[in-house]
């Protein structure tokens, strides 16, 4: 579904991605693990067109989308919930969600999306008229994910959805990610919490200083000694 081939990205003189290859098949959950500064967010931002790539190619369903503007990529139904949630603080929950379906004109479709998101996140339904800046961290995270689901994406990019959340909320978010995947949404997940990520993912990639160093079945990777030592916090 998504294939990334030899992708390079530069931030000024910093070479952040050094030829990344990555493949996502339909209806998978693929997770990308790696330490801070490995280039995980850079990879997601390059895929969706926020950061220009300096080499390599990105294909979505066989169509090249390298360096297209983000609004064009979103129209192809790739959506992203960014790191740090990035909700619109002075807009209401409802307006935030409405913006998630900005590119869509069909009113019936939008209504259906609202129903779907509110059934996944009943908490948001209770707070439709509240401004996003007044929500708790967990609620903002739900809003960020819900907003990304509004245009019924085929591929959902999730950047650190559990960052800064209380443990019970982390569990809940991961359960939701699995539920969303069951609805037929393919997911690329970036996580600090590698344990949890590997437990729900089908496959995983390990990114270190801009290069993929390992990849494979999520269950097998979670047994890999190097991975356990570096990312799972046990030996």
């Amino acid at each position: 579904m998504l294939s990334v081939k030899g992708l390079h990205t530069h931030y000024g003189k910093i070479h952040a991605l050094k030829g990344v290859d990555l493949e996502i098949r339909e209806s998978e959950i693929v997770t990308l693990i790696g330490s801070n500064g490995a280039g995980k967010s850079t990879l997601l931002n390059t895929i969706i067109g926020i950061i220009p790539s300096s080499g390599g190619k990105v294909f979505f369903n066989e169509e090249e989308i390298t360096n297209m503007p983000p609004h064009a990529i979103v129209k192809k139904r790739i959506c992203m919930s960014p790191e740090g949630r990035e909700v619109f603080p002075q807009l209401t929950v409802q307006e935030n969600l409405r913006l998630g379906a900005y590119a869509i004109k069909d009113k019936k479709f939008i209504k259906g999306s609202f129903e779907n998101v509110y059934s996944l996140f009943p908490r948001l339904k209770e707070r439709t008229k509240q401004t996003a800046g007044t929500l708790s961290g967990g609620e903002q995270q739900m809003l960020a994910i819900g907003r990304a689901l509004m245009s019924d994406p085929k591929l959902l990019l999730l950047d650190e959805p559990s960052l800064g959340l209380a443990p019970n909320l982390v569990l809940m978010i991961f359960k939701l990610i699995a539920d969303i995947n069951k609805q037929g949404v393919t997911i690329l997940l970036i996580e600090q919490n590698a344990n949890m990520a590997l437990s729900i993912a089908d496959r995983a990639y390990v990114l270190e200083t801009g290069t993929i160093v390992l990849s494979g079945d999520a269950k097998e990777l979670s047994k890999n000694d190097a991975v356990r030592k570096a990312y799972l916090g046990n030996t």
């Binding site: 926020i50 503007p69 960014p82 619109f88 307006e95 900005y102 961290g137 903002q140 245009s151």
Partner: protein, 301 residues
Amino acid sequence: MYPGMQQKKLMFWRYMFNGLAVGMAYALVAVGYSLVFGILRLINFSHGATYTFGAHVVLFFIGYQTNIWLALSASVLFTGILAVGTNKFALEPLRKKKSPPIASLITTIGVSYIIQNLLMVFMGSERKSFPNMLDIPKLDLSGLPITEPQFFLFTISFALFIILTLIVHKTSIGLAMRAVEQNTKAAHLMGINVNQVITFTFFLGGASAAIAGVLMAGYYQLVYPTMGFLIGMKAFTAAILGGIGVMHGAFAGGLIVGLAESFASGYIGGTYRDAFAFIILIIILIIKPTGLFGKKTITKV
């Protein structure tokens, strides 16, 4: 009651209505600063010249005996395009190069002088009388301290201000404008074509400046290439005073500046009129640095 008392009361209301009428036009110009600032965090100093341009376009078309409504529509269209062009050809390249904000600021000042000078070259630098062209229906205002031009300046500006507010708060493109204002990166992720939103914002600012320019030219029955300088500064003051980036801030700021200078010139003397906007600005900023309705930007991580 002796007649002097009556006279004093009448003068008070005259100053009041004059201030409201002119202030409403300031508010309309202030919105242009506010909208662009909201989206780009840039003070667009070419806005005053844009306003001047709007008035001159109408004067130009009227010279060819064009119907006033046609001339007005042409002015809105061309002035909107001028504002969009300023962004496309002078500001967008700077943003692409990630130039420091000061470069854009200086550019807008440069653009303002270019527009002013081009108007001098093509239309002449002298003060030209502007026809009182609106076929104003006769109103019976006898006995009231408000004149017909004041009444129309106020109502038309007010109506336009309401329309602008509705565009920003009730339409889909308005929602996109507010999204870009609050978080440009997230706006990209929503599938919003941010460049298109910026273009639209400049058009809206240019169009409202054009209408304000025509209204004020009609009010004072005077047009000249530097007419936008002072009003540009005052409207900018109004925007800052009310809280830049907020619609009702521009509204309140415009009225405060208009009223203050009307009362000041009435009671203190016309010489001080233009200084008053700025005196009030300084006082309000000392008390509340974000302006009356300015919001602190909350960034929650």
